[in-house]
């Protein structure tokens, strides 16, 4: 046991906890005033629902003793046997319970990211069912494949330092899939849908950036130089991406706060799988390219007329895809001996495995999410009635208003 490592992992877990409500604020600022509370509540609901799912069986399915390289067993149901003694296969120097807590925060933020796809018309009860099913049937198996001892992608040698594939690709692609099932918002593409509060979005982005130090730095699972390296590359990529997005928007018209904030988040997404494996110049390139990729993907998505409302696919799915591929290009054993060399250092194998893990995450997340969404839509309906949508979800689903009184 190492008290320094433990202290850092506990702080990192707390930092990541902050990110899930921050996703709610980030998204809440971009929807219309009548849906701000509803949008924030989606993220908060994931926080409370997946905490319980995770300690009951989610953690065991993901990290429990492997069954056939595809899923964990239920041996650790209800955290049975998960206690103060370290589980050396995952983290030698901290209690097993601390590793469980750290991983819980990742399991929580992932479904919260997806909520951007269906804001302003999701039926709240259907959303809870979707979230529980998605976590159990998509996140838990995929995270087991990549991170669980015995998981088949882990065995192939795929690198994913803090969850680019497991979290960002899976959430981004799931967002696209569910947006193709749920009906679009009434008047989408015709009436103006004004962001209610840009400051809320900026505040969300600031808290996300802050929390991301725990997300990426904590993934070293130790207070060591690798954690330092991850924090540094994380900060660099966020800045490079934010600057790039600002430049893109300036070239088109004017540099806006909402675009600067979006760029920062996209850079954080892209560096996530790579932060513990790549050097400083690579971090700048990864951030800058991520913004270009996501920016043009948003424009393309709009032309397709899919109401994937807050562009989770473009920002998380595509920046995550770029980050996973970039890890296969720029990773270096000189940075992290436990990693591997990428294509630029003469190792084509890692590049191939990264592409494979991206494809697996895409196909699995899209297919499974599409089926889950379709099943819920056909049985109880994913969306509220048109009239409830027009009144706004804050009042129709939750009986509250964000600004009451005169």
């Amino acid at each position: 046991m190492d008290t320094g490592d433990l202290a850092w992992v506990l702080v990192a877990s707390s930092l990541i906890m902050l990110m899930t409500p921050a996703v709610g604020l980030f998204y809440g600022g971009m929807v219309r005033r009548k849906n701000v509370l509803s949008t924030i509540m989606l993220s908060f609901t994931v926080l409370i629902a997946i905490t319980i799912q995770w300690v009951l069986f989610g953690y065991s399915l993901t990290f429990g003793p492997d069954i056939g390289h595809v899923i964990g067993s239920l041996e650790w149901f209800g955290l049975e046997g998960v206690g103060s003694i370290p589980y050396p296969d995952y983290a030698k120097t901290i209690p097993h319970l601390a590793f469980m807590l750290f991983q819980m925060k990742f399991a929580i933020i992932t479904p919260a990211l997806i909520t951007g796809a269906f804001v302003e018309r999701i039926r709240f009860s259907s959303f809870i069912i979707f979230t529980l099913l998605w976590s159990t049937l998509v996140y838990d198996p995929l995270a087991h494949w990549v991170w669980g001892i015995g998981g088949w992608l882990r065995n192939l040698g795929a690198l994913d330092f803090a969850g680019g594939t497991v979290i960002h690709i899976s959430a981004g692609v799931a967002a696209l899939a569910i947006a193709m099932v749920i009906r679009e918002r009434k008047g989408y593409g015709r009436v103006s849908m004004e962001p209610s509060n840009v400051l809320l979005t900026l505040l969300g982005a600031i808290l996300l950036w802050f929390g991301w130090f725990g997300f990426n730095g904590g993934s070293a699972l130790a207070a060591n130089s690798l954690a330092v390296h991850a924090l540094v590359t994380t900060n660099i990529a966020a800045a490079a991406a934010s600057l790039t997005w600002m430049a893109l928007s300036w070239r088109r018209s004017r540099p806006s706060v909402i675009e600067m904030a979006t760029g920062a988040v996209v850079g954080l997404v892209a560096i996530t799988p790579a932060c513990g494996y790549v050097g400083v110049p690579a971090a700048i390139i990864i951030g800058a390219v991520a913004s270009v990729v996501s920016y043009y993907c948003i424009q393309w998505r709009q032309r397709l007329k899919i109401d994937e409302s807050l562009d989770v696919w473009a920002c998380h799915g595509m920046a995550g895809t770029w980050g996973a591929i970039a890890t296969g290009l720029f990773a270096s054993k000189a940075i992290n001996p436990a990693g591997n060399d990428g294509l630029l250092y003469g190792n084509a194998y890692l590049f191939f495995v990264q592409i494979l893990s991206v494809l697996v995450a895409w196909v699995f997340s899209f297919t499974a999410t599409y089926i889950i969404a379709l099943a819920i839509d056909k049985t109880r309906g994913l969306s509220v009635g048109i009239r409830e949508e027009e009144v706004g979800l804050d009042i129709s689903q939750h009986g509250e208003e964000i600004y009451a009184g005169l």
Binding site: K34, V191, R387, V391, I395, G399, E400, A404, L406
Partner: protein, 113 residues
């Protein structure tokens, strides 16, 4: 010239605006307002119970139109807002306007509309 002041539900604004625009009525002014009619309000959620809101958010849409356009405009508003109309659907007030001046050009009355 007439002033039309229509108090309508917030959720009908987009549809009213689109219907007016389709009939060639572009200019309008919109106010956020609160008020009550005979319906008496709704209950919203409080920590462990509900509380009564007796002044509800509405939109007041104001337009100044030529006399002969008045019925066309009010018919459009009525047609949209009557769909599924429940208590609280609103009211329309019509009153005469003495003079209109366009600030940029000093044009007067109907030329300024």
């Amino acid at each position: 010239m007439k002033r039309i002041e229509a108090i309508i539900k917030e959720e009908n604004l987009d549809a009213v605006k689109a219907a007016l625009e389709a009939a060639g009525f572009i200019g309008l002014t919109v106010f956020n307002c609160r008020g009550r009619g005979t319906g008496g309000g709704i209950n919203l959620e409080w920590r462990a119970g509900t509380y009564k809101v007796d002044l509800l958010h509405k939109i007041m849409l104001m337009m100044i139109v030529k006399d002969h356009e008045t019925t066309t405009v009010t018919d459009i508003i009525l047609e949209v807002c009557k769909v599924d109309a429940t208590s609280g659907a609103g009211k329309i007030f019509i009153s005469p306007v003495e003079e209109v001046i366009r600030i940029r050009t000093n044009e007067r009355n109907e030329d300024a509309l």
